[in-house]
């Protein structure tokens, strides 16, 4: 077990490398609210926040509830000259379901519904035991790594902005009414943004390690728990 401030340049124990520029830093346990930035490129290294895990879990559950609403309620409705059409979120993805465009349906559904749901579930799975100071569940490490890898591909917020632009485009052509699913989706962006603001990958890795994951004994355990 490592004590704070001690480091070994031959094995790398007690050191942290910046993921952006590889600069070495001496690892230190941060107090909640403190922020660590790289001395060279100013990249955020860690920013633990008090109660962050509980909040991320709560926000993940919120986003799951909102997603159920977004999927099953009507999304948008337009009408003109007695002709009307309403579309759900699935309808939007199924717009590509003809012939060669078929794979795009799967991709679009994945990016706007599948991945946000999967990420919320993975975060809950990783953080639930950690927030109660228990040992992480089995496979918490690959679960959290997958969640981080999927981050850029989860595009719910881009979809909502796209909806807004499409609506401006159609506004001159027909009457549009926004369904509850649209508002659920708008709420989803706010919730996801808040969740991302609380997520500090380094802090979660430290927590998984401190909570008793099988490691090589190089973790720094805070004095309160040691």
């Amino acid at each position: 077990m490592q004590t704070e401030g001690e480091y070994d340049l031959t094995t790398g124990a007690g050191l942290i490398a910046c993921p952006r520029c590889d600069a070495l830093h001496v690892e230190r346990e941060l107090e909640p609210g403190e922020t660590a930035r790289c001395v060279r490129c100013n990249t955020l290294l860690a920013s633990p926040r008090a109660g962050a895990f509980t909040r991320i879990i709560a926000l993940s559950f919120t986003s799951l509830v909102l997603m159920v609403g977004a999927v099953f309620f009507p999304f948008l409705e337009i009408s003109r000259m007695g002709f009307g059409n309403q579309s759900s979120l699935f309808g939007v993805a199924l717009a590509f379901s003809h012939g060669a465009l078929m794979p795009l349906t799967v991709a679009v559904l994945g990016m706007i519904v599948g991945l946000p749901v999967l990420r919320a579930l993975l975060l809950v799975y990783t953080l639930l035991p950690l927030s109660r100071n228990r040992a992480p569940y089995a496979h918490a490490v690959p679960a959290f790594r997958l969640s981080e890898a999927l981050r850029p591909w989860s595009m719910a917020e881009i979809f909502v902005i796209g909806t807004a632009i499409a609506l401006v485009k159609v506004a001159g052509l027909a009457n549009i009414s926004l369904g509850p699913a649209f508002w659920a989706f708008c709420g989803l962006i706010v919730v996801n943004a808040a969740s991302n603001a609380f997520t500090s990958a380094t802090t979660i890795w430290d927590a998984i390690e401190d909570a008793g994951m099988a490691t090589d004994g190089r973790e720094i355990v805070p004095e309160s728990r040691a």
Partner: protein, 218 residues
């Protein structure tokens, strides 16, 4: 200590160690997998550039049909008022024609300026990677990389707009919109360019920096 300084910095690579890009843990250079997060440990060398170029080429190849084929097929009044097939650029021109300058600007930005800018930016970053740089130039490159990484996914907005329009505007006789083949190639182009940006190792930007700055010798 928290402000970025210009002083030379010891990197994990120079110290003969390998830093994990996923979680920041530092390991001896002989390790290949980070025991904390399970991520692969890769030393910051120019080998990653092969993947960058390959994904970038794939993205560029798909960007060509994305511009040549129609993105949207519109028919109004059962085809009596005309069927139109709009390419990306055609759609922008059409929007300007109807006076939707704001939307036209967004679509133009998202589907033409941003993708081409990304191709140029990634090519430039890959070309100058590992070349000698001053600290200021390195900061500029990192900033450019962060912009490319952030903005890349937003190009997908075009595909979503096409999906929403074709799902919504199905008014039978009055007007209907169908997606064109360009939607798929555009989506693939965006995905490949995202992968290209992700394969680029930003640590290469800093490899070109001199080991010691001149001030140290004086």
């Amino acid at each position: 200590m928290n402000a970025p300084s210009d002083a030379p910095v010891l990197t994990a690579h120079r110290a003969g160690l390998a830093g994990c890009r996923g979680c920041g843990r530092v390991w001896p250079e002989t390790e290949t997998i980070c025991s904390r997060c399970g991520g692969a440990l890769v030393s910051p060398d120019r080998r990653c550039l092969n993947a960058v170029w390959a994904w970038l080429a794939a993205g560029f190849v798909f960007y060509i049909p994305a511009n040549l084929f129609p993105m949207l097929k519109t028919s109004t009044f059962g085809g009596l008022r005309g069927n139109s097939e709009a390419t990306i650029l055609g759609g922008v021109v059409e929007l300007m024609h109807y006076g939707n300058y704001g939307v036209a600007a967004i679509v133009f930005l998202a589907s033409i300026v941003v993708p081409i800018g990304k191709f140029i930016a990634i090519s430039w970053l890959a070309l100058v990677a590992g070349r000698p740089a001053t600290v200021r130039a390195a900061h500029k490159r990192l900033h450019l990389y962060e912009v490319v990484e952030f903005i890349g996914r937003w190009s997908m907005i075009d595909v979503f707009i096409v999906a929403i329009l074709s799902a919504l505007v199905q008014l039978g006789f009055v007007a209907s919109i169908h997606p064109g083949p360009a939607a798929v190639s555009f989506a693939l182009s965006v995905a490949f360019t995202m992968l290209s940006a992700q394969s680029f190792d930003p640590r290469l930007i800093w490899r070109g920096l001199p080991l010691r700055s001149r001030k140290d010798h004086e």
